[in-house]
């Protein structure tokens, strides 16, 4: 009896879970994939590929004027010099926020996003509300994130494609004179590099 009971519980997998498991089994048996290699890929996405990469790039641009010029001139080249491999065919463009201009990135068609800098896109980035409203009502979208910009700040929205991805270079927060790149990187949030947020203030990470 106990065995039957356990067995019933053991088979409570959703249809999606069963389908994914079946697919992995078939691909493994055909010799296309190795489950341990999948584990390594998943671990890379959970630990190595993420917004901390973009944060380091932003912090370096805040600290090193020559790097900032190189980044704004050709971001793909500038970040590859730091050891970040771009996905084949990707062209990375860095856009700089100033007191007069705020940049925001969307992919109205789907979910194009600079994975090597920011990791996998968040669910909201791929969602219909964000994709439909980012261009038409950027201030309304920013309000959904709790961000309010001065009225005279212009907003420029960049629509990504499979070939061209964007990263926002936010403004360096005041009160960070003399900070190291490592310390500056702690202020750089993922959303500040998409343009739906601002960097943390020094007192917020202290």
């Amino acid at each position: 009896m106990a065995h039957d009971h356990d067995h019933e519980h053991g088979s409570q997998l959703s249809e999606t879970q069963l389908r994914v498991r079946a697919l992995e089994t078939v691909l493994t048996e055909k010799g296309y994939i190795d489950p341990t290699a999948l584990d390594a890929i998943i671990e890379a996405y959970e630990t190595k590929i993420g917004p901390h990469n973009g944060a380091r790039v932003v912090a370096k641009a805040w600290s090193d004027p020559a790097f900032k010029r190189a980044l704004l001139a050709d971001a793909s080249k500038a970040v590859s010099a730091l050891g970040h491999e771009s996905r084949v065919g990707d062209h990375l463009v860095a856009v700089e926020n100033t007191p007069d201009l705020h940049n925001m990135v969307v992919c109205t068609l789907c979910s194009c996003y600079p994975w090597e800098m920011l990791g996998l896109p968040p669910v909201w980035y791929k969602s219909a509300p964000y994709r439909s409203r980012a261009v038409k009502d950027p201030r309304g979208v920013l309000a959904d994130f709790g961000v309010k910009l001065p009225e005279d700040t212009r907003i420029r929205v960049w629509d990504s494609t499979a070939e061209t991805r964007f990263i926002v270079l936010p403004m360096r927060p005041a009160g960070t004179g003399g900070w190291s790149e490592e310390r500056l990187a702690t202020l750089v949030t993922r959303d500040s590099m998409i343009g739906t947020g601002l960097p943390n203030k020094p007192e917020e990470v202290a």
């Binding site: 994914v20 994939i33 999948l38 996405y45 996998l120 509300p129 038409k136 979208v141």
Partner: protein, 46 residues
């Protein structure tokens, strides 16, 4: 480009709902599918 995928400017989808501390994967199967897709691409299998 007009089409079902081009959502720019469409109305009626409501507010954007950011998820605080969003996990990389919301369920283990999401990671398996992504990794399979990457592995198949590396293998040149599609």
């Amino acid at each position: 480009m007009d089409g079902v995928h081009d959502m720019g400017g469409m109305d009626g989808f409501g507010k954007v709902e950011p998820e605080p501390n969003e996990p990389v994967f919301h369920a283990p199967w999401e990671g398996r599918v992504l990794a399979m897709q990457s592995a198949m691409r590396y293998a040149g299998a599609w």
